[in-house]
């Protein structure tokens, strides 16, 4: 039996064993944590965003707002129908557009366009927006989210790939100042 203050051979081996396991565990933790957080780390520097085509400009009559769908730039084989996303396209005039996310700026429910009254209405909590996407009434704190778009040789493309959420900096057009 060893004295309490002296380290026995077996005691040393046990401690070395624990240390060894600790080292291996921390080495393994790197790829494990890397895997778990991959969906966040990949999203840095807007790696998820790409330009996707919405269709020919002529499909969108001037002064009207139409529903368009596009395929998400990042596709996994198990995505099924969720690869397609809808958006509202308003052709203001000529090559001037506004492309809105269907997701309400309140909590993301799909808003519907009513051309007669010129309003987007949300079925969930009653948010409403004017034709230019600005907030009209209800719980949303801001207007509809807008995609960046460009028109090239008669084709309209938008920068898409991320879900718009009200708190996130995913807003491409209205950049909020970062949290202090």
């Amino acid at each position: 039996m060893s004295n309490e203050n002296t380290l026995s051979r077996r005691g040393l081996f046990m401690k070395l064993g624990i240390l060894f396991n600790g080292l291996v565990a921390s080495a393994l933790a790197v790829p494990i944590v890397g895997f778990v957080l991959s969906s966040i780390t990949r999203g840095r520097s807007n790696a998820y965003l790409s330009w996707v085509p919405l269709g020919s400009v002529s499909e969108f009559p001037e002064g009207e707002t139409r529903l368009a769908t596009f395929r998400n730039p990042n596709v996994m084989p198990t995505d099924g129908k969720t690869v397609d996303t809808a958006c509202w396209v308003r052709r203001v005039e000529g090559e001037q557009f506004q492309v809105f996310a269907v997701n309400c700026a309140h909590l993301g429910c799909p808003v519907r366009w009513f051309p007669q009254s010129g309003l987007f209405m949300c079925p969930c909590h009653g948010g409403a927006y004017y034709r230019d996407g600005s907030r009209a009434s209800g719980p949303p704190e801001r207007g509809l989210f807008e995609y960046l778009y460009k028109v090239q040789s008669g084709l309209i493309t938008i920068q898409a790939g991320e879900l718009f959420t009200p708190g996130a900096s995913a807003s491409l057009v209205e950049k909020k100042p970062p949290c202090v």
Binding site: G80, G126, Y130, S137, L163, A168
Partner: protein
């Protein structure tokens, strides 16, 4: 019989479990705890076991892939023999489990069972409640339909409000930048591996503590809990007035557990499985997603909170509530146990129940949501159109076509987002009506840009007819005085001349 005894002996010599099991079963409990008030914990455990069994059965068919989950649920509902019944058992079991866990919690709270020395049992119980709710939410996601798809969007929107880590939390929750295959897979892992594993572990610890610390004695007004003396008092009580748990108390647990299982089966049989609703296709936007029953109160709360209150209420409210529940046994770990002498405890339970009940009830008919089809589906009732002029009828048309009906009801048909307009002419004068329509305000959008002057005139002249027979519409008295008009007390539905 001798053979069975021999086999039993053979196993017990190796397992050595018979003695501890017998000891646990026969441990003395205070006689008056053999009560129907003490059966909810074991009922929750029974339903949890039902959920494990039915969950495994569903996993035999269910495919956790965003492309196929919905069709595999359809197959369960329609093709697989009794698949619908297993789905219904699992769905109803989930509802019953939350209900029973909540009742159990209220009973424990009102009977002071969380006080010394059972603080940790209560804390573990709070985590069990959170995990049960987590199971309910992740289970709703696995029923991968339109409600699940848009419900995930709502969850992501809420998560995005968290300061600093919000956007990262959204991507972690969704497993990517959008709601897609990876999202369903990770909720499957949560629902089937992570949370159930934790639940089993926590339930084990919870039960172990019930055995080690003994069942809470029936609270008597005036019998106070003191840390110094409680344990001795409890042991004396079980010695003087105790009875073995088996069979003295357990028969009530057994009866109630069987009754609850029967109730789940009856609901499953009679009402059938939940959903799935429409296919989770993000391009189909004609949908009004709604959460499952036990989250309806949250859905109502999110609609009714003023915008400025929403983020703090969403982020701070739940944290405060959980911290409050966790701190409860430390704040009032001693003293009176009986609810008869704890009026604030009783009021807290009643207030919480009334609040949650009212919010859930409101979420049942969502008065805050526009009725998206009212403008095309709910006609202006005939009685509002009798004997009115051509201009006023034109106004009724404008009223219908411009979707006013989606938010305003007439004759109890239409949306309830805005006030009912059956008697609006009594409340607002002509000038006020025009201003409200053109400029909006008070949660109404401005229609100035979407109505021509002619449409506005027609609409307002129709609105001015909306007053009870025999009651005059509102008039601007100062203008009358200025123009020298004597108000006609027997005013008919004729509107005053245009301004």
């Amino acid at each position: 019989m001798r053979l069975i005894a021999q086999v039993g002996d053979w196993f017990d010599r190796r397992l050595q479990l018979a003695a501890p099991i017998r000891e646990a079963a026969e441990h003395p409990v205070p006689r008056n705890t053999a009560s129907w008030f003490y059966v909810f914990g074991s009922a929750a455990l029974t339903i949890f076991m039902l959920q494990i069994v039915t969950g495994i059965l569903l996993a035999l068919i269910y495919v956790p892939s965003a492309g196929e989950a919905w069709s595999s649920l359809q197959a369960l509902n329609h093709d697989v023999t009794l698949g619908w019944f297993i789905r219904a058992l699992h769905g109803w079991g989930s509802n019953f489990m939350i209900a029973i866990v909540l009742i159990h919690m209220v009973q424990v709270f009102l009977f002071g069972a969380y006080k010394f020395p059972r603080e940790l049992t209560w804390i573990v119980g709070v985590f069990l409640l959170l995990m049960t709710l987590g199971m309910a939410f992740s289970g709703q996601v696995l029923r991968f339909d339109q409600d699940a798809y848009w419900g995930l969007g709502i969850g992501a929107s809420i998560a995005s409000h968290v300061p600093i880590i919000g956007p990262a939390a959204v991507k972690l929750m969704l497993g990517g930048p959008i709601i897609a295959g990876a999202t369903l897979s990770r909720f499957f892992a949560l629902h089937v591996f992570v949370i159930p594993g934790m639940l089993i572990g926590f339930v084990g610890v919870h039960l172990l503590m019930v055995l080690k610390l003994g069942i809470n004695e029936w609270p008597m007004p005036g019998r106070l809990v003191k840390k110094a003396t409680y344990t001795t008092e409890y042991h004396e009580l079980t010695k003087q007035d105790g009875a073995p748990f088996v069979p003295y108390a357990i028969w009530k647990d057994l009866f109630f557990a069987a009754f609850i299982l029967l109730a789940v089966a009856a609901c499953a049989m009679y009402f059938g499985p939940f959903g799935p609703t429409g296919r989770p296709d993000p391009t189909i936007i004609q949908t009004a997603p709604k959460p499952d029953y036990f989250f309806l109160w949250l859905y109502a709360l999110l609609s009714l909170l003023p915008p400025s209150m929403e983020t703090p209420a969403l982020l701070i409210g739940p944290v405060l509530a959980i911290i409050g529940l966790l701190l409860l046994p430390f704040v009032s770990g001693e003293g009176e146990k009986s609810w008869r002498r704890r009026p604030i405890a009783v009021l807290t339970v009643m207030l919480t129940a009334v609040t949650l009940g009212t919010l859930t009830h409101l979420a049942g008919f969502t008065p805050w949501s526009p009725h998206m089809n009212a403008w095309s589906g709910d006609p202006v009732p005939e009685k509002f159109l009798h004997g009115i002029s051509a201009l006023q009828r034109q106004g009724a048309l404008v009223f219908q076509v411009k979707q006013c009906r989606n938010c305003h009801s007439l004759g109890e048909l239409g949306g309830q987002r805005g006030p009912a307009l059956d008697t609006v002419a009594v409340r607002l004068t002509q000038g006020q009506l025009i201003r409200q329509v053109i400029q909006g305000g008070g949660n109404m959008p401005a229609y100035g840009k979407n109505l021509s002057p002619a449409e506005t005139t027609a609409l307002v002249s129709f609105l001015e007819t909306l007053h009870p027979a025999g009651q005059s519409p509102a008039r601007d008295a100062s203008r009358d005085a200025e123009l020298g008009v004597v108000p006609d007390r027997q005013n008919s539905s004729q509107p005053p001349g245009s301004p």
